[in-house]
Symmetry: C2
Subunit: 192 residues, 2 copies
DNA sequence: CCAGCATACATACACACTGTACGTAAAGGA
DNA sequence: TCCTTTACGTACAGTGTGTATGTATGCTGG
């Protein structure tokens, strides 16, 4: 049995993660077995269980990476935008929608995550990434302090559902434009 | 083995449904086995599989009933409210939040449903119940025709997340009030 | 330079759960 | 009264998870 150096081990873990991301996003958590992931990565289940505690932990790791990817895109867009709070909200929400609707993120983050890792954990992940920025943008847009968390949650939910809706439409480009316009209308609520 | 008449059979199916609703809402789909449901209902798995095609179908039936319950509450509230479109939206969204955050509906409808029965099917259920009313209210509030579907999805997502956020807070009554106020602010986007 | 230990897997196994096939007894019509 | 259908119960096969165990390799201290 050829063995792997520490560097190769990290590479194995990464290959498992990549396979998991692809399969999970295509078929969903319940339709992907650990063996499927292992085979796709060219290892056995033993390797997967060596690198990840269990199937849920593997899923959680994939979700965390994706969440970070999306957050990076959103932050980048906000930094390049007009610093006016309302413009920040618009730029950020558009970027979020675009980032999450192409690639593997959507199904994993928006469909499976709440059920698999639990809503609390999912929210915690979100809070570590995008949610903080959204909250800050809302604060600067003049949302009262005591409804800041509630408003953040609601706007986040609106954007998540916008993404799901968009991805489901036949003409995705058209749907994207419609979602953007609908978001803009929704965000007029936060024009101070 | 004592057998059951047709009337008793319907009652058995109902008992199974009741047990399923309770267990699923408390523990979630993946943590409840068909055998758990059967035992709670005082029958064997055979009875469950006689009345419902499989575990997902049983879940779907529970979800459909809950969805209808929530929709009824929302419609009732809207009918008793000021017929002004904006007031309809406010009354409806408040009623939705209150209805879904107490009882068994929340976890089943908002956490597990998308993953278990699929987002499309979940949306279809929603469309048969609450979504149509929401869409109509938005139209009457002056939302342009081509972004009506997108706006409906977004507002629905906002309300769903509001419910999840509310239920998660320590002081639920306080959270409910904050969610109501945050929703009111959000709905100012649809003041014509 | 080699003995011993930790690492990185592979293999084998126990357990749980799902769905299905089959058995059976009562209900209800012909 | 017979015969079919309904309403279950029971037994079984298959799949998937997690864990225990085996094993070979890299690495480190003496």
């Amino acid at each position: 049995m050829p063995r792997a150096s520490a560097a190769d081990a990290a590479q194995t873990a990464q290959r498992i993660l990549d396979s998991a991301k692809e399969l999970l996003s295509a078929r969903g958590f319940s339709e992907v077995s650990v063996d499927d992931v292992a085979r796709d990565a060219g290892v056995t289940r033993g390797a997967v269980y060596h690198h990840y505690r269990n199937k849920v932990a593997l899923f959680g790791e994939v979700a965390a990476r994706l969440q970070a990817d999306v957050a990076r895109a959103v932050v980048a867009a906000a930094e390049n935008a007009d610093p006016q709070p309302h413009e920040q909200l618009k730029a950020g929400s558009h970027a979020f929608l675009d980032a999450i609707t192409n690639g593997a993120a959507m199904r994993i983050l928006l469909i499976d995550s709440p059920a698999v890792i639990g809503w609390q954990e999912w929210r915690r992940l979100d809070a570590e990434n995008s949610a903080t920025h959204l909250r800050e943008a809302l604060r600067e847009a003049g949302v009262a302090e005591d409804i800041l968390d509630a408003s953040t949650a609601q706007l986040s939910g609106a954007m998540n559902e916008a993404a799901l809706w968009t991805a489901q439409q036949n003409d995705i480009d058209l749907a994207r434009r419609q979602s953007h316009r609908a978001l803009d209308r929704l965000l007029t609520a936060y024009v101070s």
